[in-house]
């Protein structure tokens, strides 16, 4: 029995057992359901083995929504725990676990896949390509991400959750203070997902550099594609740091090395430094694509060309460079001396300048525009003021002397939620609403959508603005409770109410999806918003090959020009199209990775070695495999084209 003891939850509670049963039953229901409806074959052929960027994108989307739910439950639990002084809903250990998983899940398994969903779905369409540069690698990226996510999420029912924060600072995350396997999960699950993300980065840089439609110079790319390009460059330069960091952390925990320990020369601050060398660029990986989406949406619904295209691009380039030189602002208080602090203060504040340029560009785009308040536009208009507030508090935090007051208080928590929620999350929801008709062929209900946006914003303000105040009053972050005499109770209750309203907003979003599936009209054509760039120039649903004829581009908004200025997008005849074959290898290899990760987490060495050999075997198989893809014939394309043209009005 000793062997199985390690899988037990070290610090169980009723809630954990209940979720265990819940997860078990859901899995069973899914398996039974698929078997009953005989969908295994369909699932395997159309989804699991697919290399189509659109389908891979949709799988990223589903993962992100699932994780939004998981992270959201964590969030509401934390806010409820803090809503009253001396609350006993969660004890300190559970609270530690909940805030640690909340952070990791939201950043790495919700926000990241959400933006990668947009990369996948939009980038090839926006540049007029047939797929990404390496479709098979793309599938591998997804499945590695998915398995990493799965591994991370089972931690709380098998062996115990990570509990050292999403930043997992040593020595807290070392064996001495984090005794369960929780932090092993952190090290290894993120490693597996991270490798997937790194390959996404390589894939999209190559795609954007090499596969643009004829005439689309770099400075004619749609703004979202630009933002995706820069975000992927940051990925390629930042994620290897994470890879090394996690490998060293893993070795400290599993093999007894002394990288971050407190004796034999180990240096705990090395973790903090390297973590943020990756971590700060990471937050810009999230926000830049969000900026890209806002640019698309604002210019579409202001019915104007994006103001200051060149300065938009330049500011993103500057942000991406600066983002690598600000990392120490996360630990001004941790002893590096006034000179270093001053330098990092200045670089940090400098980031506010290009960010400000972008804000003004959006405002000038709106200026004299014929603004139409659709749901995506509403999100964008809520984003501008709320995000600006977050940026301003960021500059406050950037003043190293003042940071001694703010650091690790609720003020900091308010800051980063203030930039991430109105910045990233709103962009995801705006983009989802905007592109929903392109992806699924019907619109989400506008009225429900606007209700969601407003509720979310009211909830957001109630939940997070009070934290600025209690933070300045000294309420520390990551504390599981406080006493009545601190006077924090009222504000924390307000926060909880805000969080509950946000939860309701998300429920409304789900209801909106359900409602629209049932009642939304289907004959909306392929361009329901009267939009401007190439992704709207093809049919809805988008055929497998995206464009029957590769489009010709002359400006930053070729589709708009083709509608209004007589630009001819599609010249020439249909030719046969080369497409990649489906493959089960990415999925199989990622499954082996999952088992390998699991074996590592629990130090089951024989299994780890066997699975490692399995992974290498897959790579070897891939090396010898001959796969030249296939062709879609001209007849088949013509047939599809007529059918799709008939489908819209």
């Amino acid at each position: 029995m000793d062997f199985f003891d390690r899988f037990a939850v070290p610090h169980p509670s009723f809630l954990i057992y209940a979720s265990m049963v819940g997860i078990g039953l859901t899995m069973l229901a899914i398996v039974v359901g698929i078997t009953y409806f005989k969908k295994w074959g369909y699932l395997w052929r159309e989804w699991i083995t697919t290399v189509d960027h659109k389908r891979i994108g949709i799988m990223y989307l589903l993962s992100a929504l699932l994780m939004l739910f998981r992270g959201g439950v964590d969030a509401v639990m934390m806010r409820y725990q803090l809503s009253m002084p001396e609350n006993t809903f969660l004890d300190s250990q559970h609270y530690n676990e909940v805030f640690s998983t909340h952070g990791v899940v939201m950043i790495l398994f919700m926000a990241m896949p959400f933006i990668i969903f947009f990369f996948n779905y939009l980038v090839p369409l926006q540049i007029g390509a047939r797929d990404v540069a390496f479709p098979r690698l793309n599938a591998l990226s997804f499945w590695l991400f998915f398995m990493g996510m799965g591994l991370f999420n089972i931690s709380f029912i098998v062996g115990g959750s990570p509990d050292a924060g999403w930043t997992s600072y040593f020595p807290l995350a070392g064996n001495e203070f984090s005794t369960s396997v929780g932090t092993n999960y952190y090290m290894i699950a993120i490693q597996i997902a991270g490798i997937g993300t790194l390959m996404t980065g390589i894939n999209f840089i190559t795609t954007i550099l090499k596969m643009r439609a004829p005439g689309m110079k770099l400075m004619k790319m749609p703004m979202f594609t630009w933002s995706a390009f820069i975000a992927n460059v940051i990925i390629v330069f930042a994620f290897p740091v994470l890879t090394v960091l996690l490998a060293m952390g893993t070795m400290d925990r599993l093999f007894g090395t002394n990288f971050f320990t407190t004796d034999n020369g180990g240096m705990d601050m090395l973790w903090a430094n390297l973590f943020w060398v990756w971590g700060h660029p990471e937050v810009y990986i999230l926000i830049l694509p969000a900026f890209g989406l806002y640019s698309e949406i604002i210019s579409t619904f202001a019915r104007r060309n994006l103001y200051g295209y060149k300065s938009m691009v330049a500011s993103m380039v500057v942000i991406s460079l600066l983002s690598f030189f600000v990392w120490a602002h996360h630990f001004f208080t941790m002893g590096q001396g006034p000179l270093a602090n001053s330098i990092f203060s200045i670089t940090t504040m400098a980031i506010a300048v290009p960010t400000g340029v972008k804000i003004f560009n959006w405002l000038f785009t709106l200026w004299k525009g014929k603004i139409e308040f659709t749901t995506p536009m509403l999100y964008s208009m809520l984003f501008i003021p709320l995000f600006t507030l977050g940026g301003v508090t960021g500059v406050m935090l950037a003043m190293s002397a003042a940071d001694y007051q703010y650091h690790n208080t609720m003020f900091l928590v308010a800051h980063f939620h203030n930039v991430i929620i109105p910045g990233v999350v709103y962009a995801m929801l705006a983009g989802l609403t905007f592109y929903w008709p392109k992806i699924f062929g019907f619109m989400l209900n506008e009225k429900l959508g606007k209700w969601t946006a407003w509720l979310l914003s009211v909830g957001f303000v109630l939940a997070f603005i009070p934290m600025y105040i209690t933070g300045l009053d000294g309420q520390a972050r990551r504390m599981y409770t406080y006493s009545e005499s601190t006077g924090f109770s009222a504000m924390n209750m307000v926060s909880f109410i805000g969080a509950a309203i946000m939860a309701i907003a998300f429920v409304l979003l789900v209801y909106n999806i359900y409602y629209s599936i049932r009642y939304s009209p289907r004959n909306i054509g392929s361009d329901p918003w009267d939009a401007r760039s190439l992704e709207w120039a093809t049919h809805t649903p988008v055929p497998e090959y995206n464009f029957a004829i590769t489009p010709q581009v002359e400006s930053t908004q070729p589709f708009w020009d083709s509608k209004k200025n007589g630009h001819q997008l599609f010249k020439g005849d249909i030719e046969k199209i080369h497409m990649p074959n489906n493959s089960g290898l990415p999925f199989i290899m990622s499954c082996i990775f999952f088992v390998f990760g699991f074996a590592m987490i629990f130090s089951i060495w024989p299994l780890a070695i066997i699975t490692l050999i399995g992974i290498l075997g897959c790579l070897a198989y891939r090396s010898f495999e001959k796969d030249h893809g296939r062709y879609i014939s001209v007849e088949e394309i013509k047939e599809t084209e007529t059918r799709l043209r008939g489908a819209k009005k």
Partner: protein, 198 residues
Amino acid sequence: MKVDNSLPLEYSTEENNLKILGFWIFIGAEIMLFATLFTAYFTLENRTGNGPTGADIFEIAPVLVETILLLASSFTIGLAIHAMRLNKKKATMGFFIVTLILGAAFLGFEIYEFTHYVHVGAGLQTSAFTAALLTTLGTHGLHVTLGFFWGLFILIQIKKRGLTPETANKSFIFSLYWHFLDIIWIFIFSFIYLKGMM
């Protein structure tokens, strides 16, 4: 597949072009990976705890041999690619084989070196310095090991399938990888060994 005959074989198709660019970007990521390892190494270099220092354990002889072996293999893989461009299958394979033998010999010496370190009490767990040292060297060694098998597979494919746009592309990319590992080794040699021995 459209083949453009005016270009070298490894660049002759669209797919090949994509793969070469993609690999360059991958090398960019690898540079960051090793840069991080070097950063960690330089930070922890003097934090030897109760363990030995670099000067205590480094031996110039095996390191010099390793350096010569790896540099020579970088030269021979260059010759292999040159032969490939001249469409000489036999010569390409010959130089590939020499490269792989040199690579294997390098690994042999490295394994000897590692056992030596453990022997003199500089194991993975001894101190922050030894952990950083062995991880940095180990990561490079692991790359060479993977490269060895990868090269072997390509060699077999050239033998079986001849010099096609595909095998040429793979060989070319492999040579980029191999040169890259060589450059990393030069950094290791200068900034870990030489600096450590001074």
